[in-house]
């Protein structure tokens, strides 16, 4: 089926070339980083994880979000989603590729990466994260590819695939749970040290992933002959509504516990993020913007008439995606490091090379996404053609 990704219109080639260009620039800067060291980034002793790991965390969510189309179809036999499960799976694959690349660009000595396998230890959550992320990537490739091939050949998917499909459902929950465990088991990092971190990650994942999928579905309808379907988009809209409400609710639970208990280790991070601490307030406008976007999106989505209006739904989805990105991709990691365990406020801002490398990884992810979606839609169009 790979050949389907090679045939396309001029516009398709233009888009691919553009992505290749951004990815190429990213690679050049990454080579520079490899040669010089991570000193070209804005990270420091106090904030030792920055933009790369933040993107990684957010994208694990997007990958897990694919579950929201797979689960209703396979566990609840919700037929309508049969049309778009492949899109959810392929979105997960490209998000996972980005996750793994973001980890790779964050390593000081990526050439020694395999030491995770040579000197493994079950004590480290990063070891488990390596297993769940690669495992989920593998599951999605196996399931997505075989289901699509069966669809192309007008045959039911092979029987041996079923266990993999069922396994992929709890596995999706697993990837984001383990990713939350990376952070929430560290003594001295009060912002992350909360049992609700994994549920909160999942809630934002189930909002951000489907929101992105809705936007992709609308785009697909516009630029191809395949229509993912009105009902499908509306059901996703409902899922996003629940997920984003739960996400904001979980966040408010967090705020209550920290602010009412007045425990400095937990309170100071929120104070830093939303009001500034000791005169440092770089993230304050971003954090308020995140909350504003998410709350506005809820107000739009909760009203059935507004939600049924597709342009409104699209706007709400953009808000959900950007809001959760700011909340998780920007505030979550920096917020955990600032103030540090000795309560010094040392801020972090990414550097230009860091942002270029980040853009490069996103471009690679979109390249994978474009190719996979091209294949999936190519097959859908073929099947439609055969049916006349």
């Amino acid at each position: 089926m790979l050949e389907l990704a090679l045939k396309g219109t001029k516009r398709y080639y233009g888009w691919v070339t553009g992505l290749l260009l951004v990815a190429g620039i990213g690679v050049v800067f990454w080579l520079w980083q490899l040669q010089f060291g991570l000193g070209i980034t804005g990270m420091s002793r106090s904030v030792s994880w920055g933009f790369y790991i933040a993107q990684f965390t957010f994208l694990v969510g997007v990958a897990a979000g694919g579950l929201m189309v797979v689960l209703p179809y396979y566990l609840h036999n919700y037929k309508a989603f049969g049309r778009i499960t492949i899109l959810g799976e392929f979105l997960a694959i490209s998000a996972l590729v980005m996750c793994l690349l973001f980890i790779m660009v964050d390593l000081g000595q990526p050439n020694r990466m395999l030491n995770v396998l040579f000197y493994p230890t079950p004590h480290s959550m990063l070891f488990w994260d390596m297993i769940v992320l690669n495992g989920y990537l593998f599951l999605n490739i196996i399931v997505g590819w075989n289901v699509l091939e069966a669809e192309r050949n007008n045959v039911p998917p092979p029987k041996w695939l079923k266990p993999f499909i069922y396994l992929s459902i709890p596995w999706a929950v697993g990837i984001h749970t383990v990713t939350a465990y990376l952070y929430c088991g560290l003594p001295g990092r009060g912002f992350w040290m909360t049992a609700i971190l994994a549920p909160r990650f999942l809630a934002s994942a189930f909002a951000a992933g489907p929101a992105f999928l809705v936007l992709l579905c609308m785009l697909i309808r516009k630029v191809t002959r395949f229509d993912p379907g009105k009902e499908q988009i509306q059901t996703l809209g409902k899922i996003i509504t629940y997920a984003i409400i739960i996400n904001v609710f979980f966040f408010l639970c967090e705020v209550f516990v920290a602010m009412y208990s007045q425990i400095p280790e937990h309170m100071d991070h929120l104070t830093y993020l939303f009001a500034g601490l000791h005169g440092h307030d770089t993230l304050v406008p971003f954090m308020w913007a995140a909350q504003l976007l998410m709350v506005t999106a809820i107000l739009l989505l909760i009203n059935p008439n507004a939600r049924k209006n597709e342009p409104v739904l699209a706007v709400a989805c953009v808000m959900v995606f950007i809001g959760t990105w700011l909340d998780k991709g920007l505030g979550m990691i920096s917020g955990g490091f600032v103030p540090d365990p000795l309560h010094h406020v040392i801020e972090y801002t990414p550097t230009i090379p860091e942002l270029i490398i980040t853009a490069g990884v996103w471009a690679v992810g979109f390249l994978v996404l474009t190719a996979l979606f091209k294949i999936a839609i190519g097959v859908k169009e073929e099947v439609m053609g055969e049916m006349g």
């Binding site: 002793r45 994880w49 000595q109 309560h343």
Partner: protein, 264 residues
């Protein structure tokens, strides 16, 4: 050799630092740089990117004259024991680069195995771990003066205080040659301990009643940094000043830290 191992009971090397004696001269930091081949920058004003295995912090009681008071606090790696070796950095390392030795109580770091994920830095509440953001650059000719006992690190790996472990190895070799099974207290001392002109730092086996640290750590004014996190550090601090002891953890306004200090 087997016989020797049988007769050696597990050690817990640690420090007791008297903050009332520390003058903040920084000799410990300099001695540490020279001893452990620690790279430095041409411009050391940006401390966030510096590598300082031993770092002297300046604390202040933030009061106006005449009540104003300051205190200097030297901070090496705490060599946290955690609970049964579950110290924060050891437990998170995905490649078993860092390990808690049950023989010496020293938290080790294998530089050539580390791939620079910096998870240990996120886990360490003391900022005792440092990342090589670039390759070390030595002033011309200085590479010939580096210590042959300590390997030089490259960009992209994490490093930290080792309690001058090479000195322990040297002392052990000497003891073995001389037919002894154990290392004497004065035979194994860290560079910072010996460099301190105020004798503020005392180093030894916290388990050994013959070592000075055994007695000193039981001082009623002894405390450890962020003790309540349960990291079980092996570096003790002593100060007669209450505000100094209070700076060692995040206490609430009216909390009395002296009353909850635990002894180990």
């Amino acid at each position: 050799m087997k016989k020797a191992a049988d007769h050696t009971k597990p050690k817990r090397y640690g420090m007791v630092i008297d903050l009332d004696k520390c003058t903040g001269c920084g000799a410990c930091m300099v001695a540490c740089f020279a001893e452990n081949n620690i790279p430095f920058k041409k411009d050391e004003s940006e401390k966030l990117l510096s590598i300082t295995w031993m770092r002297v912090y300046k604390l202040s009681n933030k009061k106006k004259y005449p009540d104003t008071d300051i205190c200097y606090l030297p901070r090496p790696c705490m060599h946290c024991e955690g609970h049964e070796g579950h110290s924060p950095c050891v437990s998170v390392c995905p490649a078993t680069v860092t390990d808690y030795s049950t023989e010496t109580g020293i938290v080790s770091q294998i530089y050539t195995r580390c791939f620079g994920c910096r998870y240990c830095m996120a886990a360490c509440p003391y900022h005792a771990r440092y990342f090589n953001w670039w390759d070390p650059v030595w002033p011309k000719g200085m590479e010939k003066m580096l210590s042959p006992d300590v390997s030089v690190r490259m960009r992209g790996v994490v490093e930290k205080c080792s309690f001058c472990y090479h000195r322990y190895q040297r002392a052990k070799d000497k003891a073995y040659v001389e037919g002894r099974t154990d290392v004497e207290e004065e035979e194994y001392q860290t560079a910072c301990t010996q460099a301190c002109p105020a004798r503020a730092i005392t180093f030894g086996d916290l388990n050994n009643p013959k070592h000075k640290v055994y007695e000193l750590k039981q001082d009623p004014h002894a405390f450890r940094l962020l003790e309540r996190l349960g990291t079980n550090p092996k570096v003790y601090y002593v100060s007669s000043r209450e505000w100094v002891r209070k700076s060692g953890d995040n206490y609430l306004k009216h909390e009395e830290p002296g009353h909850i200090a635990t002894k180990h």
